[in-house]
């Protein structure tokens, strides 16, 4: 096997794995950075979106794109309801109360999905155009991985432009930096949070569907992958979109390479890498201030 193809395989595989984590986690980073809200139930939104997408395709014969849109907006809508009626009450509470609340929410989601849909695993049926392999010239690679990498890049770019170029993005950045200051400048932080929370949850829902090909989808989803989402957010830095993007991609590629060459190490690498990165940069790659 030639070296170029080897390296390309590693990079593409790692980027695809990292992209999935990025799409699901980016919302968590922003909401935690913005309000300091420890939303462990973020994965539950991803699961909810994933179920919407997969069920829409399998049972209601939606197309892939339409199902993705449904997943995004459906999850965002649900999150707005929960945010207005429940999350809102806990903004000023301690982080441990938030932990209790969001873990309880995870249980409710797990039980709800198990009761309504059933405990079994759901399978995503990719459209024919996205399955199989794509020839890139120097290497033929899994089409869906390349599709994911491109989508992830577009999303990261889109969010970054929103943050840097728009009014609302500026407000978000100001609030992440210093909430009290932002409030005194007349920014409606509550409204801002509802919007970002909805958007972040919608992204999670989208990620739940897009990532189902790799992560699978069953009622245990919010607990199974919680650690990975938290790792990406903490290594990336709270409230930093670009940080989370880099963290997801770096961890994805490094973990992929190490697993490929040293499979006996199992999951050790991801944890060891996280510990090393956090000891070196306790506030994350491009972390703004904590809390």
């Amino acid at each position: 096997m030639n070296a170029v193809a080897d390296i390309a395989g590693i990079v593409l595989g790692g980027l695809a794995a990292g992209t999935v984590l990025f799409i699901v986690s980016v919302g968590l980073s922003v909401t935690m950075g913005l309000m300091g809200f420890v939303n462990l139930a973020h994965g539950a939104f991803a699961m909810f979106g994933g179920y919407l997408i997969v069920l829409a395709m399998n049972r209601a014969q939606y197309g892939f794109a339409a199902a993705l849109a449904l997943g995004f907006f459906g999850t965002a809508a649900l999150s707005v309801v929960l945010e207005r009626f429940l999350y809102r009450r806990l903004y000023r509470a301690g982080e441990l109360d938030q932990v209790l609340f969001t873990i309880g929410l995870i249980f409710i989601f797990i039980a709800g999905i198990t009761i309504v849909i059933g405990p079994e695993h759901q399978t995503l049926q990719l459209p024919a155009a996205l399955s199989g392999q794509l020839n890139l010239g120097f290497i033929a690679y899994r089409t869906y991985s390349i599709f994911l990498i491109v989508i992830g890049f577009l999303i990261a770019l889109g969010i970054w432009l929103t943050f840097e170029r728009t009014r609302i993005g500026g407000q978000i950045r100001a609030t992440v930096d210093n909430r009290r200051m932002a409030e005194s400048l007349g920014i409606d932080v509550d409204r801002l949070f509802t919007i970002t929370f909805a958007f972040g949850s919608g992204m999670a829902g989208l990620g739940g569907g897009l990532g189902a090909e790799f992560l699978g989808l069953d009622p245990q989803y919010p607990l199974e992958y919680l650690v990975y989402f938290l790792i990406v957010v903490s290594v990336g830095g709270l409230g930093s979109v670009i940080g989370v993007y880099y963290a997801a991609l770096i961890l994805g590629v490094l973990n992929f390479a190490l697993t490929l060459y040293l499979p006996k190490g199992g999951t050790i690498f991801i944890y060891a890498l996280t510990i090393l990165m956090l000891l070196a940069r306790p506030r994350g790659l491009s972390g703004r201030k904590e809390q």
Binding site: G9, A111, H121, T123, R142, F214, G216, P263, K264
Partner: protein
């Protein structure tokens, strides 16, 4: 002191209820399955099999009446299963214990079963040495050594493979599968060139790096074991997406990578896979035909039983046999176990027998291939049948199955 009193009370209660009651004698079966947690998706298929048996073979059960008391073994770590076992025995005073999907559940409960002196039928847990842990354990499911050993043998003999890469979930069944495959394959002239631990039994890992590594090593076959469930689909999809078939690598495994109830969801990627297992829903025997027909009638045309269902079906059949053999005194665990030693049964999976020495199941293994039928659905056809396969781990006294010094 209080211990003795309780034991006496328990004995009184049991003996008082047992013999020659005029109406149907009630037999309490404590059923321990994970109804929540990672194993939750496996339980319904076993529950359904147990319900179906009682409906279909009601005549067999008479004059007894089975009362099933269900308990949730929760996360697959043995903790809840052990407490469940203890309370079913002491509080509910059940006559028989059944269930156990995950091996740690059966392992943790072993001392309780031994002390409780009741028959316990393992309906799924597959770690080979479990039956050594308590003289009251009887297993109607399988061990990984049974299927993987045959697969290793046939990879060399039937597929004429010279080299193999093994990818396995990094927990005891996975290691059993690896050991069995490797032992049989290498004793038949093959060579396992790499063994890749591919993640744990919980979260589905990204199989791409593992399969990428396997692909780069160009083996004749890739042998995979993952727990039946969410991971199976990811295995088959990743195999297809990486173009490994085109690269001349045959995917093989135990039947766990093509569970019957998930087969249709895998799509065309699954076509051509070769596996060894003791059951598939397409098996051509009268018991299975009746079983499938009844299943689809009861649970819908799209519903399919799988090997876990058959393990539960056979387990209940074993309990009913022990009931008759002991004339209702199934709560005498030693007698119940004795009555099952050498027991033969025509199961939907073909003829089975309980090995009198090990109390483990002896059964047929089938070399299967997935194909697309004329109905547009995926099916499995049997390429070869291997009769009366014993658990090779105990037969060869290897590793953890070797008698402890």
């Amino acid at each position: 002191m209080s211990k003795r009193m309780i034991a006496a009370l328990a004995a009184l209660a049991v003996s008082g209820g047992a013999p020659g009651a005029a109406s149907a004698q009630e037999v309490k079966i404590g059923l321990i399955l994970p109804y929540t947690g990672p194993g939750a998706e496996l339980s319904p298929n076993m529950d359904r099999a147990i319900d179906l048996y009682q409906k279909l073979d009601a005549a067999q059960i008479k004059p007894f009446k089975l009362t099933i008391i269900k308990r949730d073994s929760k996360a697959p770590n043995g903790a809840a299963a052990k407490v469940d076992t203890q309370e079913l025995l002491t509080q509910e005073k059940v006559d028989v214990i059944a269930g156990y999907i995950y091996s740690p559940d059966a392992i943790a409960s072993a001392p309780v079963i031994t002390a409780g002196k009741r028959l316990a039928v393992i309906m799924n847990a597959g770690t080979a040495f479990i039956t050594n842990l308590s003289p009251y354990y009887v297993r109607t499911s399988f061990t990984l050594w049974q299927s993987s050993y045959v697969m290793g043998e046939q990879a060399a003999k039937y597929l004429h493979a010279k080299t193999a890469v093994v990818a396995y979930t990094d927990y005891p069944p996975g290691k059993d599968a690896l050991d069995a495959f490797k032992y049989a394959f290498e004793h038949n002239g093959g060579k396992v060139i790499d063994a890749i631990p591919a993640g744990g039994p919980g979260a589905t890992p990204d199989f791409t790096p593992f399969f990428q590594r396997a692909k780069d090593e160009h083996p004749n076959v890739l042998f995979v074991f993952v727990p039946a469930g969410d991971q199976a689909t990811a295995v088959v999809k990743t195999y297809a997406a990486l173009g490994m078939k085109a690269a001349g690598i045959q995917l093989t495994g135990t039947g766990d990578i093509v569970p019957d109830n998930m087969l249709q969801g895998m799509g065309d990627s699954a076509i051509g896979l070769i596996t060894v297992h003791h059951y598939n829903a397409d098996l051509d025997n009268p018991q299975n035909k009746a079983f499938i027909a009844a299943w689809k009638k009861a649970y819908g045309a799209d519903a399919t039983p799988d090997f876990t269902s058959v393990g539960a079906w056979d387990g209940i059949a074993a309990i009913v046999h022990a009931l008759h053999a002991t004339k209702g005194k199934i709560d005498d665990g030693a007698a119940a176990v004795k009555s099952l030693e050498g027991w033969k049964f025509a199961s939907p999976q073909g003829p089975i027998e309980i090995d009198p020495q090990t109390r483990d199941i002896v059964m047929n293994e089938y070399l299967d291939q997935v194909y697309k039928g004329s109905d547009g659905k995926l099916h499995e056809k049997v390429l070869a049948t291997f009769h009366n396969v014993k658990d090779q781990c105990k037969a060869l006294a290897i590793g953890p199955c070797a008698p402890k010094k």
